[in-house]
């Protein structure tokens, strides 16, 4: 996770959200022969939203982005941008602009000429073109670098030029194809904050493609998690992280302990499950939960298990034995064997109270909040 204080990070809910749909994707499939890069995907992206398409490589997220941009066409289904169907409309006549993964800065032009590239066709009056170029350069903090040649730029600067070149067109939607993947860690984290700020300032709908879950969690209003050409879950970062709909989503968004469970009772809003390690628990029934026989999986994030020191007790606790300990500076990662569980639990504990000194082999008790337990159908 990027190390940023809350004050530094523009908060997800600061800007009022419009409920108007900006992009509507209806039953879109893209096949290459027998292979379906995108399989019957439907999605609505709202106006002014920072939306991320998150998934491993080959999940169809880039295919979807390229179809929104107009570089590729759906085999079936439809895409509308700003209420306008995009069928048959080529990329150069769409109200979208893209920041490419390679940035695609024109190497024979300087920064200014790159940014003004799309404006040239608009034949703007007087010095309107120059004014807009300068405004765009200021937005991405490149003021004064207009005459710099494209080949003399650092990676971070190239990325800013690509951003300015797209923003200067004042698109309805800005598409970003893994824009931070080529930057080193520190610059990437800085750019995450800047991108989010920029999006808040200009209020344009951003659609980001990424395989980095932290990037998606840190920047987005909503995230669509994709696997194998299908959209697995669409929700806010918090809900995706805390209430993943299945093991695949849970696994992709960081560590998660999975515990086999038996469904004892199911009703509209909650589930009662029997587990070996955690006993009988009652949890919220996720909206997307579809029962698959009598079995279910219970998930809990490693940081939601807390070490109970000395004689402290908690209403909900499990007892076991430390089998491994890994030190990570500010946290320690413990592997704890619980009698009855087929797999030991992963626990991350901050080092404030000496979790880094817990001896391997020592008995240990862990507290948990039943709220943190997520029921999954598979």
């Amino acid at each position: 996770m990027p190390e940023l204080s809350l004050a530094e990070r523009p908060h997800q809910s600061e800007r009022p959200q419009s409920e108007r749909a900006m992009i509507e994707i209806r039953d879109v499939t893209r096949s290459y022969g027998a292979f379906k890069a995108l399989d019957d995907a439907s999605l609505t992206i709202k106006e002014g939203e920072f939306f991320s398409l998150l998934g491993p490589s080959g999940c169809g997220k880039t295919t979807l982005l390229r179809m929104i941009a107009g570089f590729d066409n759906p085999t079936s289904g439809s895409i509308a941008v700003g209420g306008q169907p995009m069928d048959g409309i080529p990329a150069n006549r769409r109200p979208t602009n893209m920041v490419f993964q390679s940035y695609a800065i024109f190497p024979h032009l300087n920064v200014e000429q790159n940014v003004a590239y799309g404006l040239k066709r608009l034949k703007l009056q007087g010095d309107e073109e120059r004014r807009r170029v300068e405004e765009a350069l200021a937005q991405v903090s490149l003021t004064g670098l207009g005459k710099r040649g494209a080949t003399e730029l650092s990676g971070g600067q190239r990325q800013r030029v690509a951003l300015a070149r797209a923003l200067v067109m004042r698109p309805k939607v800005l598409l970003l194809d893994e824009p931070l993947s080529a930057l080193d860690k520190k610059l990437r984290e800085q750019m995450q904050v800047e991108l989010r700020r920029l999006q808040q300032a200009v209020g344009i709908t951003f659609v980001l493609v990424t395989h980095d879950q932290y990037e998606a969690l840190a920047m987005s209003d909503r995230i669509a998690v994709m696997f194998g050409g299908k959209i697995a879950q669409v929700a806010s970062p918090k809900e995706i992280y805390q209430r993943p709909v299945n093991r695949q989503v849970a696994d992709f968004l960081g560590g998660m302990n999975f515990v086999k469970a038996e469904i004892v009772e199911e009703n509209g809003a909650s589930l009662v499950l029997d587990t070996l390690g955690f006993g009988r628990v009652r949890t919220d029934k996720p909206k997307a939960f579809v029962r698959n026989g009598g079995q279910a999986t219970l998930g809990i994030r490693p940081e939601r298990l807390r070490v109970l020191w000395d004689n402290a007790t908690a209403k909900f606790e499990v007892a076991g034995k430390v089998v491994e300990r890994h030190y990570f500076g500010e946290i320690t990662h413990l592997i704890v064997e619980i009698p009855g569980l087929e797999k030991p639990l992963s626990v991350t504990e901050t080092n404030d109270f000496g979790a880094d000194d817990i001896p391997v082999g020592a008995p240990i008790r862990l507290a948990y909040d039943p709220e943190a337990l997520v029921a999954m159908a598979d």
């Binding site: 893209m98 490419f100 993964q101 695609a104």
Partner: protein, 274 residues
């Protein structure tokens, strides 16, 4: 003992390298040297230094004609083979299709075919087609030998052309033609000019095919060949040869510089240097 051993490999290598370069360029160096000799026979020691052989060159009408012929053939052949080369190089670097490598191989093959055989075959074909031998038939022959060189230069310029540059242009509202004019063409222009120069140089120096396929109009190498029968004309030939040598050298150097520039330009380094 140790010192000698340490020195020897370097010494041998240096000597070898020196002989290598001497072998390559010594004969060529005699050309300019004897071309400023006052005596008509190429023999050491030089009897004196003069530029009169050069001064005589523009006063030879047959030479002027041959120069014009060479220029016409060179320009036509280089333009034609570069246009054809662009189409083939674009297809081979941009698209993936079955037989791509085989086609590339076939296009490059004339490079290793014996030129005499190619020339005779072309002569037979031209005669079968009922074409009378002229500069036009020479141009056709030269296009055939130039295309492999043109392809080599152009593919190295087009290779690695980042497709996203053309997509970015379209994304910013530019039409297909506008994208070609504003992005593709400026980026590959150095490679195209380089190909033109290489083809022109090859055509200018080419002898065998021109010898078989020309009618009554001589190109420069054929004119030189004709002059060699007269011992008295030798210094003039040497002077002309020297000029051709320098022209070729200059053109090839410019071509190589442009080719390199094109190759580095099309490589969009993106975030590699992040």
């Amino acid at each position: 003992m140790m010192a000698i051993k340490r020195l020897l490999p370097g010494g041998w290598l240096s000597a070898y390298a020196f002989l290598y370069v001497a072998f390559l360029y010594l004969p060529v160096i005699f050309l300019p040297i004897f071309s400023i000799n006052t005596a008509a026979t190429p023999k050491f020691p030089l009897s004196g230094v003069t530029l009169k052989w050069y001064e005589d060159l523009p006063r030879t009408p047959a030479l002027i004609d041959a120069t014009w012929n060479s220029l016409i053939v060179g320009v036509s052949a280089s333009v034609l083979s570069t246009v054809l080369g662009i189409l083939a190089a674009r297809s081979i670097t941009r698209y993936r299709y079955p037989g791509r490598r085989a086609i590339n191989g076939l296009i490059m093959a004339p490079l290793v075919l014996p030129e005499v055989i190619v020339a005779i075959s072309m002569l037979l074909v031209m005669l079968q087609l009922g074409l009378s031998l002229s500069l036009f038939t020479v141009v056709l022959g030269h296009v055939l030998v130039c295309i492999p060189y043109s392809m080599t230069v152009l593919t190295s310029g087009f290779e690695g052309f980042d497709r996203s540059l053309e997509e970015a242009s379209a994304d910013l509202g530019e039409s297909a033609f506008g994208t070609f004019r504003r992005v593709t063409l400026p980026m590959v222009m150095p490679a195209i000019i380089s190909s033109l120069l290489v083809c022109f140089t090859i055509s200018l120096d080419e002898f065998i095919i021109a010898f078989f396929l020309t009618g009554t109009e001589a190109t420069l190498p054929i004119y030189i060949w004709g002059q060699l029968r007269f011992a008295a004309k030798l210094p003039g030939v040497l002077a002309l040869g020297t000029l051709l040598l320098f022209a070729s050298f200059l053109l090839m150097t410019i071509a190589e510089i442009l080719r390199r520039r094109a190759a580095s330009r099309t490589r969009n380094e993106g975030g590699l240097y992040a």
